[in-house]
Symmetry: C2
């Protein structure tokens, strides 16, 4: 039985074993360390644990029992029967401040954390529509996925787990690395060997490790504005200075930045949805070449192009190994499965393996990695993608129509033909936006937003984006209609 | 169909769409980006993707087909039929050096990485005994574990996953945090609330994030010598200066170090197995108090005490919130499941959540976390532990007897009554050790080792440790006998 009380501390205070044992048990129960209902060891077991006689234990148990702290009987076991008001929570009032390192101090001071991010889910309540929730489980083929999951789970347990099948390394299951390599070659046209694929716990780990490998405090990094907050925080945590590059309908506007790294979402700008023109892609690569800079290309939802054309990823055009291409399965698997990846220059693979090994020497979701690899190899994952594309494409069209016809007075919708969200710039004043958002929130409708300072400084431009894969068509229609209703009910919202 | 060729790059070079399409396909096939066997889109699909006529696609397909690069027929689909010698691996000869940050440069230069660590497994070959392999699957209750895994997997998929059941956060599934809190209260006597439990991807992540939160380059950290290489690397990667504290039969020898952090394994010193005396425990806490220092207490295998007594973890004696207690399930679950945890001071919980969120905003093994929580709540996990304790205790005794009776001439075995390995100091010269290890290796026997410089400098003292949970009793006996045989067959090995 796993059981521990601080008996040895009490033997220092009490010369008699009986008293030491009594007080060790008493204090553990009264402080709540041993909770009500906890089964205590038998007198034989406890005697052996602390090298006391069984008689001593029986005496102590009798004392505690007569005082009402424990109960029990012959053949029934002995249990704690006292419940103190509340656990000690570990706050120690006299404790001096912890001396944080610079990194710790920076993340302590950084703003904009979503502390409860993981609970950002669509509620089951009918009248609540969260356009910011993640996940796309509404049409996920559970049974198919579970078939692969169960098969791989048995494989891992049976063959004594790790001996069998493909080799694994810090950078992921080799079978999955091969499947991803095949996929990015075929679907994105990237010339890559499986050894250049690094599997991460979601794309954020790829960004954070890349930042840590390349950014010293005070060095400059270009980010899109508006852009992805996660990347921004990763650079700021390292003391990097972020240059906020404006974005228009063709994506990020290239400049001759003095910087060491660029984070960019060329294939569908996050969150506006703009597609970076081919000309600008070449400009970014030329910039990187001139400044000996690195580019992180985050291709977070390229799977969902709803119309024909697509442009070459930067990684395809890159002739100097300056691009780290980052992808993710967060939009195509169950949302609790966190698998992302990066396409690395061959000469950096070992360095990334070491960087990851400091945190996760072994893949921490090997089972799901293998299930995904088997699904991809079977060809059924590709069918799943095609089906999701149809399903999402239909909802995309519906949401687009609804927003265009009902809310164009409030937002300028950005044109786009891909992705899992739609973006619009607020047309009115900042004050009106805050008022409108609050009214919607009170009616159970919410969405994620972004804000940029206008050139004339002091004035803020708001943008909102609407994610839909987790919503049914009825929920989409209900949500947008409700937003329209609230608009007409609010007086004085300007429609510039 | 997910498919991409760099068509738009080729339209810049070729004025005719037909030629652009031909060369885009040709180059993709010849470079190996489109592999032999890849199914190409139908002419209708490809025409839609790149806004060309179906006739143009048919012409291009006919050209490539007549040249032997693709094959196909009516109703059969079109496939790539050419296999180039080798993929371009991404090495770009003219590429200048990447400019690493200090952190990146340090891990690039650090020695002692086990690049293939994850493949450190016991081979299926009968004559090969790896005393260093991880895992303890020989007696793992697969079926019981899978019952919980499957049930939780269905829960996650059915209830639209994340809406249902307990809340999750960056620091883990709340149900698991509660189960771990109950466990450490009962089994280790630590007064803790579930909110102070942080679940990590194995204990290494807890060490690495703690190091990063508290250690600046040039700051001093105390580590045990011999000790855990993973912790050493985590501190060195941050530019920390490691003070190597000697260890004797009572564990680390306290001194008045000028340092900010101490990493220690008091409950079973790694790798020697020494148990830190209660007196020294108090000395370490007094030292931390004087220097306003933090202590990481790594309690990596306290579950497996084979005889009675155990001493209070530092965390129990800690009155000033200076101890971060780290534990792991690596020795009690299937070895590919990576779940570790830390008991944090309440005032540091938010900071750790932010630190982890930079890398993994969402738990990356939620399914396994929930399965473990359910297993622990059912009471069956505790039964599994009791059973494993018996199984491992028996093997421990066997290995101890075998080593004592057969190899005491070669090693001084360190006394111990707990854990999953046995440790011995080599009695002879360093040269003899190297010779003996090599001979054993050639006969298929290997073990992990440690080495310390002796005081007189220049002379090295070797130690070896023998892990057993993954081995059968027959393998243990075979391995030690073989080592004895090799000893007697080698001439001139001294037995001081």
């Amino acid at each position: 039985m796993q059981f521990h009380i601080p008996y040895h501390v009490y033997t220092e205070k009490f010369s008699k074993k009986r008293l030491a044992l009594y007080h060790a048990l008493y204090d553990s129960i009264v402080s709540g360390v041993l909770e009500a209902g906890t089964r205590l060891p038998s007198s034989r077991e406890l005697a052996a644990m602390y090298d006391v006689s069984r008689g001593t234990v029986s005496q102590v148990y009798d004392m505690l029992s007569s005082e009402g702290y424990i109960t029990g009987g012959v053949g029934k076991g002995t249990f704690v029967s006292f419940q103190p008001p509340k656990h000690r929570t570990g706050e120690s009032p006299g404790r001096s401040e912890y001396l944080l390192a610079d990194w710790g101090q920076r993340i302590h001071e950084l703003q904009g954390w979503k502390e409860e991010e993981a609970s950002n889910v669509q509620s089951n309540e009918k009248q609540t529509i969260n356009f910011g929730a993640w996940g796309s489980e509404t049409e996920f083929p559970d049974k198919e996925w579970h078939r692969f999951l169960y098969a791989e789970s048995r494989q891992l347990a049976e063959g004594n787990g790790l001996r069998s099948r493909s080799r694994i390394s810090t950078l992921g299951d080799d079978g999955l690395r091969e499947s991803i390599a095949q996929y990015v070659r075929r679907a994105r046209g990237i010339a890559v060997d499986a050894q250049q694929i690094a599997v991460f716990n979601g794309s954020m780990q790829a960004l954070a490790l890349t930042a840590q490998l390349f950014i010293n405090p005070g060095e400059r990094v270009v980010v899109e504005n508006p852009g992805y907050g996660g990347a921004l925080r990763a650079f700021q945590a390292l003391g990097g200075i972020c240059l906020h590059a404006p974005v228009d309908s063709e994506g990020i506007i290239p400049e001759d930045w003095d910087a060491k790294l660029l984070f960019v979402t060329p294939n569908r700008q996050f969150p506006t949805g703009a597609v970076l023109s081919l000309e600008r892609r070449h400009e970014l690569l030329a910039w990187a070449s001139r400044h000996n800079a690195l580019i992180i290309e985050d291709d977070y939802d390229s799977e969902f192009r709803h119309r024909g054309k697509s442009l070459e990823p930067l990684k395809v055009l890159d002739r100097e190994e300056r691009v780290i291409y980052v992808g993710s399965f967060s939009n195509t698997l169950l949302s609790h499965v966190r698998i992302g990846y990066a396409v690395l220059p061959a000469s950096l693979v070992r360095l990334y393996a070491r960087a990851k090994a400091l945190f996760d020497p072994h893949p921490c979701n090997l089972l799901e990695q293998r299930a995904l690899a088997a699904w991809m190899q079977s060809g059924e994952y590709e069918r799943h993608l095609r089906r999701m594309k149809r399903v999402h494409g239909k909802k995309f069209k519906l949401l687009r129509e609804q927003l265009d016809s009902r809310l164009s007075g409030l937002f300028n919708w950005v044109e786009g033909d891909a992705g899992l969200n739609l973006f619009g710039w607020w047309r009115g004043s900042a004050e009106d936006y805050v008022k409108y958002r609050q009214a919607c929130l009170e009616s159970g409708i919410c969405w994620p937003e972004t804000s940029v300072q206008k050139e004339d400084w002091g004035s803020i431009r708001y943008g909102a984006y609407f994610r839909f894969p987790h919503l049914t068509e009825e929920q989409i229609i209900y949500g947008v209609r409700k937003m329209e209703e609230i608009w007409t009910s609010l007086e004085g919202i300007s429609t510039s």
